[in-house]
Symmetry: C2
Subunit: 244 residues, 2 copies
Amino acid sequence: MENGKIYVIGLGPGGRAQMTERAVRALEKCGCIAGYGLYLELIAGLIEGKERIETGMTREIDRCKAARDAALSGKTVALVSSGDAGVYGMAGPLLEVSAGYEIDIEIIPGITAACSGGALLGSPLTCDFACVSLSGLLTPWEVIERRLRGAAAGDFAIALYNPASKKRTDALPRACAILLETLPPETVCGLVRSIGREGESRALTTLGELAAQPCDMLTTVFIGNSATRVIDGWMVTPRGYRGV
Amino acid sequence: MENGKIYVIGLGPGGRAQMTERAVRALEKCGCIAGYGLYLELIAGLIEGKERIETGMTREIDRCKAARDAALSGKTVALVSSGDAGVYGMAGPLLEVSAGYEIDIEIIPGITAACSGGALLGSPLTCDFACVSLSGLLTPWEVIERRLRGAAAGDFAIALYNPASKKRTDALPRACAILLETLPPETVCGLVRSIGREGESRALTTLGELAAQPCDMLTTVFIGNSATRVIDGWMVTPRGYRGV
């Protein structure tokens, strides 16, 4: 029997309107859909009647192996991530667990939260920027700390993914304390929540006030660079570097 | 007369299939389209018969002002960027030139080259990453150098935008020399060209060999972090941090 194919698909932030046509067409080709239940709900209309491989939020490796094995049995499989498939997504782990197997893999990008959340706030990432996840589940805190220091040293605008979860409420305050060692407390910051979904919200603040903002696993946090400012309620990082 | 509205739209890397449904629908609402000629060609079928505001590649501020003035005259305007509207795109400059005017602005994100190029190579940006533009047109080289050093210090995977142009061929070799001060020459690197368009190509290399690779204004360069490796021809940054 010939092996099937796996499409690793980035869904973008919300439902169908935020997906590319390429992603929608790939989903249509697949008889078997693997993904976290919450994300599958967002695209329920597109995958009605298809076989589903669902696993819990933190069982990504199991999900990748199940997708790989389904492809090895000849199926055409969609492995879906919210946002982009490559940014804190399923493309990396799928390629790791598929090493040495002869499976046709196609990765279809989607809009990551740095871009979708940035658009809600204005243009916080106009120039050079860094994305850092504050989840310590897979990355030791020393590495996260090194990343934050490197981003601050480079005067990058920063998008913080996974700033908090139910169990993990101290990550954002710790990150703020590290950044405040070198960045001024008046640095412009923004938060977005539930991008492209029901209850979408946004807020502007400063680095000095950021640690006190309400924040959960659906929040993405933006920290401006030294030139970022607020214009008519938008968070804007200028394109050029004036006065440097 | 009431003011019109401006949609700032990220087109993603290529033609219609790489755009979101939201972006396509917004374009349909607009009678007037402002953008760089090359990008307008990619969406020619979607904007047939509409008024066009075209300016050269480096006349972005003029284009933003023309879009603003068209909206002030009551028109519904699309201001388009390739990739994402907020990453080296038109959202920032448009918000700057529209400061104080009462214009309804909606920013519609698109897939930036870090994501679309990453998907072609595999998953180079699975974990924390930084985007740095090597164009010195708007950013002094000292700032670019500071960003590169910060990214290397943080062990970020890096996506380099604008690594070269016809006139500017020394930027990538200079960037490589800076990174090689701290990163090993065997660091996994990748290049993608003309993502999602005719002549799309990809190549894998190492940081030690990167400066010698052919590279132009349509190229995006990826530099792995200390854990990035090649798996079955894909450039893969593992999700977790093993052995740190």
